[in-house]
Structures are given as structure tokens and as C-alpha cells.
């Protein structure tokens, strides 16, 4: 009688472990291993080569992108098309661990000038609804080369000398920000 009681005490815990085990590794462990490997390879391919995760570390793109905001860079965005005005892009430094995040305002061959904070492209005023604060920046006119884009952040309320902006070559652009 006491042996039967002991057996019934053990049984519920055995079945509980069995449920957990099936929940974790599934009914077919071999299929689960293959499925996990597929997920790992997929994640490695997607996040390693296509969508690069990033975290905003500066304030030059505020208020569009705020400090510590998480986003992705689509590295395939310019495989079949060229960067467009208004695109927010990531620009490499020595490598891709630390990137600049800026908006394209000038395209190859164009003339860009800042006058009292307003941007003029080939002499015409550029409408910029994404700029909320505008300090009176004055930058002399710059003619972009055939392979150059003019990049600047959305936070124009800060001093121009503290805000990295200017022309970069196409090869330095890593991709377009996804969200």
C-alpha cells in the first residue's frame, strides 16, 4: 500500500517533466535540431548581410531619430536603385561598427549651399518638413562630384561646427534606414 502511494507521488512529476521536455525539444528531437539550425542560418543571413541592427548614439538626427532608438539598416536598398534625396542613410567610417546616420539632401553634380539655416540646391530653396529647429547656418557653396552625395542630420538647432555634415562618396553609403 505504501509502495503504491510512493509510486503515485512520483508519477505526476514525471509527466510534468515529460511535458516540459516535449515542449522544449518537440516530439521529434531531430526535426527540432534541424528547425533550430534553419532559424540560426536565417537570422545570421538576414541580420548579418541584409538588415543590420543599429542603435542611435548621437543627437544629430533628432527629432526624427532619438537617442538610444533601435532601428535597422537595409544594406540591399541600393542594389537596384540609387540613393534619393530625403533618404536617411548610414555611412561607414573605418568599418561598419560605428556609422554616421544622416539624410541625403544633395545629389551628384548639384550645388549645395546653406544660407541662414536654409538649404539651397542649384539656387532653389529646398523644402525640409523634417527640420523642426533651424540655427542660422552659413556654409559656402559646394559643387558635388559625379559620385558624391551631400548629407546632413535633421537637428539643425545645434551649432554647425558640432554637426558633421558634407559630401561623401557613394561607396561610403552602407544602406538606407528601414523604419
Amino acid at each position: 500500500m505504501s509502495e503504491n502511494n510512493a509510486a503515485s507521488d512520483i508519477e505526476p512529476s514525471r509527466s510534468w517533466w515529460r511535458i516540459v521536455l516535449i515542449g522544449v525539444i518537440g516530439r521529434s528531437p531531430r526535426f527540432t535540431v534541424i528547425r533550430i539550425l534553419c532559424y540560426v542560418v536565417l537570422a545570421w543571413g538576414v541580420f548579418g548581410y541584409v538588415l543590420r541592427p543599429m542603435r542611435v548614439a548621437g543627437i544629430s538626427m533628432e527629432p526624427t531619430y532619438k537617442l538610444n532608438q533601435v532601428n535597422f539598416i537595409n544594406r540591399w536598398s541600393y542594389r537596384s536603385s540609387e540613393p534619393q534625396r530625403g533618404d536617411v542613410v548610414a555611412v561607414r567610417m573605418a568599418g561598419e561598427s560605428v556609422l554616421y546616420l544622416k539624410r541625403i539632401i544633395g545629389l551628384p553634380g548639384e550645388r549645395v549651399v546653406f544660407h541662414r539655416g536654409q538649404v539651397f540646391i542649384n539656387g532653389e530653396e529646398l523644402p525640409e518638413p523634417y527640420v523642426k529647429n533651424r540655427a542660422p547656418w552659413n556654409d559656402p557653396e559646394m559643387e558635388l562630384g559625379p559620385d558624391e552625395y551631400f548629407l546632413v542630420g535633421d537637428n539643425r538647432g545645434m551649432a554647425a561646427r558640432d554637426h558633421d555634415h558634407g559630401a561623401v562618396r557613394r561607396s561610403k553609403i552602407v544602406g538606407k534606414v528601414l523604419l
Binding site: A57, G58, I59, L67, N68, V91, M93, A94, G95, E96, S97, V98, Y100, V113, D139, P140, E141, M142, E148, L151, R161, D164, H165, G166, A167, V168
Partner: protein, 170 residues
Amino acid sequence: MNRSIRWLVMLVVVAGAGFGIWYNLPTEEKRIRKTIEGMARDATFTGGEGSLSRLAKVESLSSRFAVDAELHVDQVLPVESALSGRDAIKGLMMAAAPHLGAVDVQVHDVQVTLGGEGEARVSMTASAKTGGKRGDFTAQEFDLKMVRIEGKWLVRRLDAVAGFRKAEVR
């Protein structure tokens, strides 16, 4: 099944051992990388660090430059000329160190190209995070020319690389 698992385990062990040997093999490139990482450590200060500790770090950092080292940062900073000589670099660091708050310097994407006769070129990005309210973050790309003097890799020339081409002021 058991045999294939045994083979798999053996393969993992052999691969691990191979990686361990390769990782710990002292090559010139690894020595240079350690020097660069050491520079970042020396340039990192905690908020509560005393003056003596800061000066010791400056001493260590300046010892990683060659006697005839040159610093060219005029591309990114409003300075007119290059800084020449280890003593001048050390003097500048000594003057700046006591006034710095907490700063965490890290190096990223270190690419080493070994040249002939104890010379090497290094390209890297350095980032600095200060303890400001908004966690101020700044990053800068650098090119370095390094030389091996008495078995030690030292910086002979450091150039700050401008990330963006600016308009020329006429």
C-alpha cells in the same frame, strides 16, 4: 549513431584546439592590435579617478608614441598645424587629463596592413562616450603609421580622417 556523435565531438575538440592555438599565436598584427587596445584603455578615465592615476595613464599613453611622432588632427579640429614630438603630445595630454570627466574610449574596426622593415599602417574608428546627462557620444576615424622600435610597436604618425568633405572657404 554513437559513432557519429563521437566523431562530431572529436571534430569540435580539434577545431576548438586549432582555434585556441591560432588565437594565442603571437603575430605582429596581434601585437599591434594589443597596442591600439592599450591606447584606448589609457585614454579611458572613470569619474572618480585621482590626478595621480590620470597622470600615470597619460604617461603610459604617451609611451606608445615614437619620439618623433606627429599628430595631424587639423582635418577635424580647429587647429592650424600638426603636433610634433612625443614630448609635445605628452604635454598636451598632461594639460588636458585633469580637466576631463568620465570618458570611455573604445576602438572599432581595426585594420592592420603590415609593411616591410618594421612598419605598419592601421585604420580604425575610435569612439568616446562621456558621462554627460545625454550620454554624449563622439566617433572619429583615424589612420596611423606605426613602427617597431626595439621590439615595441609605436605610433609614428596619427591622422584624423575627415568623414565628410567640406566646402572650401574662398
